[in-house]
């Protein structure tokens, strides 16, 4: 395999993977032992994974990311093919009739092709004076149906999510989502899980440096007798400078993109409209560093009494190029 010639640790690493992931036959262990063995193996895998992740951050290639500043809204640009973007986001939210919270999520975004991007999310939250929870996961896919740039560029968004009602990342607002939904203690909220499919039509246009994006959305809870829920997100943004400077710099204006986004719910099929819905307006800013890191900040303000008064969001992300090729090589491919 090609990797051996270039990396002497490659064979050792493969042997380690084989050893760590080797389970004894299910017949040779009792149920309890098998469970314990799996837990130990899982712990080993995670420790090794974290170790390799830390090491790889020092050595792996990265690309300068020209990321949009939006946190809720999507424009029509997909991840570059073969690139992986890892992102961490935090949301601090105020809560009337309950405790304030800090919700967070990790996002792995991979450009499968130039017309398909897939993302995996892991969500969690800490409610002050209460507890910290893992609240669920999401799998998101975005497809670009048209090849060239058009006056308006559509992208189709499909997401499956399995999250508990304690999830507070508020990555989108839909139906009659309101602030009071998050007021109960975590112990009560975590009991209920939702399986949902979410569809968005991402419409976006970039003109003279300005990007304008509009995202209508529809969500269906997969358990029976639930109505379709609707929502929206709109955003506009622009880099602070449209021409690049010839020198490599962190603080050039072209590295900073600022804008604003607005999002909220539109009711459901049984009661469509703005009553009992929440809405937010949020300035957004992204700073794309030449080192491959992107920092984002967005203070969001509730626009009516059903909304959290403040959702302060920030995020950090980094893009790694050639990820698909690396994985392919790891499994013996020559792509």
């Amino acid at each position: 395999m090609a990797g051996h010639r270039f990396c002497p640790q490659y064979a050792l690493l493969r042997a380690a993977i084989a050893r760590i992931t080797a389970f004894p036959s299910a017949c040779s262990l009792s149920g309890q032992d098998l469970k314990r063995h799996r837990m130990v193996s899982c712990a080993r895998v995670s420790f090794l994974g974290l170790f390799v992740l830390l090491c790889s951050f020092l050595f792996c290639p990265r690309t300068f990311a020209q990321e949009s500043p939006y946190i809720v809204t999507y424009d029509h640009y997909l991840e570059e093919p073969g690139s992986l973007e890892m992102e961490y986001f935090s949301t601090f939210g105020t809560q009337r009739g309950g405790n304030d919270f800090h919700a967070f999520w990790v996002e792995f975004e991979y450009g499968a092709t130039a017309w398909w991007t897939t993302e995996f999310y892991l969500d969690g939250q800490t409610t002050f004076h209460d507890s910290t929870l893992f609240t669920g996961y999401r799998w998101e896919n975005r497809f670009r149906p048209l090849q060239d740039e058009h006056f308006i560029n559509p992208v189709i968004y499909i997401e499956y999510e399995q999250i508990s009602e304690a999830d507070k990342i508020i990555k989108e607002v839909e139906g009659h989502d309101v602030e009071s939904d998050h007021g109960d203690p975590n112990a009560a909220l975590r009991q209920n899980h939702n399986h949902e499919l979410e569809f968005k039509l991402l419409l976006s246009k970039t003109f003279k440096g300005w990007n304008v994006a509009v995202n209508p959305l529809a969500t269906k809870n997969l358990s029976p007798n639930n109505p379709w829920e609707f929502g929206y997100a709109v955003g506009a943004s622009r880099p602070l400078a449209l021409k690049a400077s010839p020198r490599r710099c962190n603080f050039c204006r072209e590295n900073v993109i600022a804008g604003v986004e607005m999002y909220g719910g539109l009711g459901d099929t049984q009661s469509f409209g703005l009553h009992d819905t929440s809405h937010y307006l949020a300035p957004v800013v992204a700073w794309n560093l030449p080192s491959g890191w992107t920092l984002r900040l967005s203070p969001g303000f509730g626009l009516n009494d059903n909304s959290h008064r403040l959702l302060l969001r920030w995020g950090v992300s980094r893009e790694f190029s050639g990820f698909g090729e690396m994985v392919s090589r790891l499994f013996g491919g020559s792509r």
């Binding site: 995670s46 050595f59 640009y77 060239d148 690049a244």
Partner: protein, 158 residues
Amino acid sequence: MKMNIAPRGLPALLTLAMAALFTLDVSLALAQTENSAVPKTHKWDYIALAKVPEKARAKRNPLENDTDAAAAGGKLFEQHCAECHGIKAEGGKKGANLRAEQVQQATPGALFWILTNGVVRHGMPVWSKLPEPERWQIVMFLKTFTASAVPKSCPVPE
């Protein structure tokens, strides 16, 4: 409306997440194992140039008198394009050789159109997310290869 789910799904989910993380980590660690910049030219590499509309082809580069444009374009090329097209634009496994005659003979307007629209079906994404002046700066940089030499002011790594 809500479904109660027993917490037994969580360990399986965590295992899945760990496996995903592990695959990711190992892959990233192997990032330096091989230099994949083996130029390969596919027949579709330059076909897109023939599909550029006449109006776009005739467009002039508004930065053609900007002395810094090629240098800035070189920086942008390194940041956004070199991963596929090679650090010296010589082509890679994924991207075409941009020093090739077909590219160098193309008009600035045609290159700008390709940058803006991409060749999505063949893996090149659209780059309209870069502001227009930045795309023209990249075109200026690409045109420096016409004379088979890169100006000293262009920051192309050795």
